[in-house]
Symmetry: C2
Subunit: 142 residues, 2 copies
DNA sequence: AGCCAGTTGCAAATGCTTCTCATTTGCATT
DNA sequence: AATGCAAATGAGAAGCATTTGCAACTGGCT
């Protein structure tokens, strides 16, 4: 929260450097993204962004997310039968554990798994470009 | 191929036991699925099924696939920005490597990764229910 | 053979996402 | 500060894969 202003300015800089204009609407969306601790979808981002700038349209949210994705500052996730969800791409690579009861998303990282994946691809004669690993879980009851 | 007739009869038995009628259309779809060596999507299945029974509609393909999925004889996969693809659920569990140039799907299995996934979930206080692991790769050139 | 809930084909509806287009706006240049 | 213009915008239409409503059929048990 305290740092989100800096973070937003940093993101705006990345956009400008990439030749992408920083409009009022985009600034609002960036702020929301920088503050988000969860993995909101487009319409949730729209809902939140409208509180900063009521003129933001859903089209613009989608267009901005695509632009941000291309600039590499946002990542799009398509979890099981759900709409696309987004997060800023500042954190190092990680995979996701999804609570199938609440939809909550927990990030994790396993270097061992990362390495095994590359090995498997290599064995099959391929170079690993990217991967998707999602664990659908239920909170342990006991 | 030689065994697909038996396989189809087996699948039909599963359906009947599950209280699901085996109609002309469903028999055609089952045959196609049993013969498929790839991971076709709904419209490809439709195309193939129509060669056996021209009356099969795309709606029925979708409805049948849902029924089969519920009976546990078919698995649905939603790979990156693509339509859902299906395969019979007879083979033991495996994950998928997708050739990002051709869309080809290769199955693989790593007990080590399976085990690591369960460990990660446990560490985070969860029970792993199911998971999705997809490797998006490019064929090694050299 | 006859019944009747389960199935079907068709078309219309969905829901997310992208696109079209007329209008506005950022911002580099005067 | 005013100008020019490509980029961006809002609103709504369009796309696309998938689902659904409905009237007409049909498995499969009696």
């Amino acid at each position: 929260m305290k740092q989100s202003k800096n973070r937003v300015e940093e993101l705006e800089g990345i956009l400008r450097d990439g030749g992408v204009r920083v409009t009022r609407q985009r600034a609002a969306i960036l702020k929301i993204l920088a503050e988000a601790e969860d993995h909101p979808d487009a319409s949730e981002l729209h809902r939140r962004a409208k509180e900063i700038d009521a003129t933001v349209s859903l089209s613009t949210v989608y267009r901005t997310l695509s632009a941000l994705e291309q600039q590499g500052v946002v990542q799009r996730h398509a979890f099981e039968n759900a709409t696309a969800r987004f997060e800023t791409a500042d954190a190092p690579h990680h995979d996701h554990l999804i609570d199938i009861e609440t939809g909550a998303v927990i990030e994790f990282r396993s270097d061992k798994i990362e390495q095994l994946q590359a090995e498997i691809a290599a064995e099959l004669g391929y170079d690993l470009v990217r991967h998707r690993l999602e664990l659908y879980c239920r909170k342990r009851k006991d």
